[in-house]
Symmetry: C2
Subunit: 159 residues, 2 copies
């Protein structure tokens, strides 16, 4: 993700990292932002369609962001150490087709990544390009649990 | 939101509530989930495209969830107090067309709500219907800052 726009390869896949959803982290997020019984109360969760405590979908999404930022920082540091400059993460105007496909239960480890689906130059912002990412997260059983399509501004090479 | 599916009126508007984004809350969320400089560092943020510290888009989204849960709990309590039963919030399979239209700065107060855009019965889950909501948040100047389209499972009247 620290490649500049010109070097982003359509069709390539990037793995951002892994995250294990601990029970207390699931509950802490949910108490602040999504205090539904299946996210904060193990006993009550058993009687719901999920069958057990599971993570807020918004936490699954926020962890995507966390791992992308960490991935980018690692790469920026590696580039700096090698004396190369690197692209900054640009703003996102939004995204589409977000799906929570399966519940995320305590102890589940998700691997997050994306496939680069397309890119184009920005007509309005010549210093940025636009890259379309198909983002995904799979659990430890290889099941896709989360996905969405993002179009993000991507820094172009300084001219 | 505690009306049962049968009583949900297409075209109606619901206001979930308000939320003021305090500086420290913006930073606390961002440190956990989105530690980009324009979300955690006032000085560094001045040099970015946002011009100042602003909230993570994922926090703007998570607060939508928080206000929906609180709205629903208030209505469920009011219904229970009046001796009426009420619909539970159902799971969401996902959503689409999420847009962060303007930055959310410290001190901004957003009003969150939705317009009911459509509804249909669920073929696979006869106890639930599906409702399409156009969700939105406006700031204190009446500017739309956030929107997305959600299709959510909505409990039908017990039969």
């Amino acid at each position: 993700m620290t490649a500049f726009f010109e070097d982003v390869e359509v069709g390539s896949e990037v793995v951002f990292g892994d995250f294990t959803f601990e029970r207390e982290h699931i509950k802490a997020f949910a108490r602040r932002y999504d205090p539904q019984r299946f996210h904060i109360d193990e006993e009550a969760a058993k009687e719901t369609h999920f069958g057990a405590l599971c993570a807020s979908g918004w936490q699954t999404a926020a962890i995507w962001m966390k791992l992308v930022v960490a991935y980018n920082e690692r790469n920026a540091k590696a580039a700096a150490d090698a004396g190369r400059s690197s692209a900054r993460l640009g703003p996102s105007p939004g995204f589409t087709d977000l799906k929570w496909l399966k519940p995320v239960y305590p102890g589940d480890t998700l691997t997050y990544g994306c496939t680069i689906a397309g890119k184009r130059e920005s007509a309005s912002r010549p210093e940025w390009g636009l890259v379309t990412q198909h983002n995904w997260a799979n659990n430890q059983n290889g099941e896709r649990v989360f996905e969405f399509v993002a179009t993000v501004f991507w820094e172009r090479k300084p001219r």
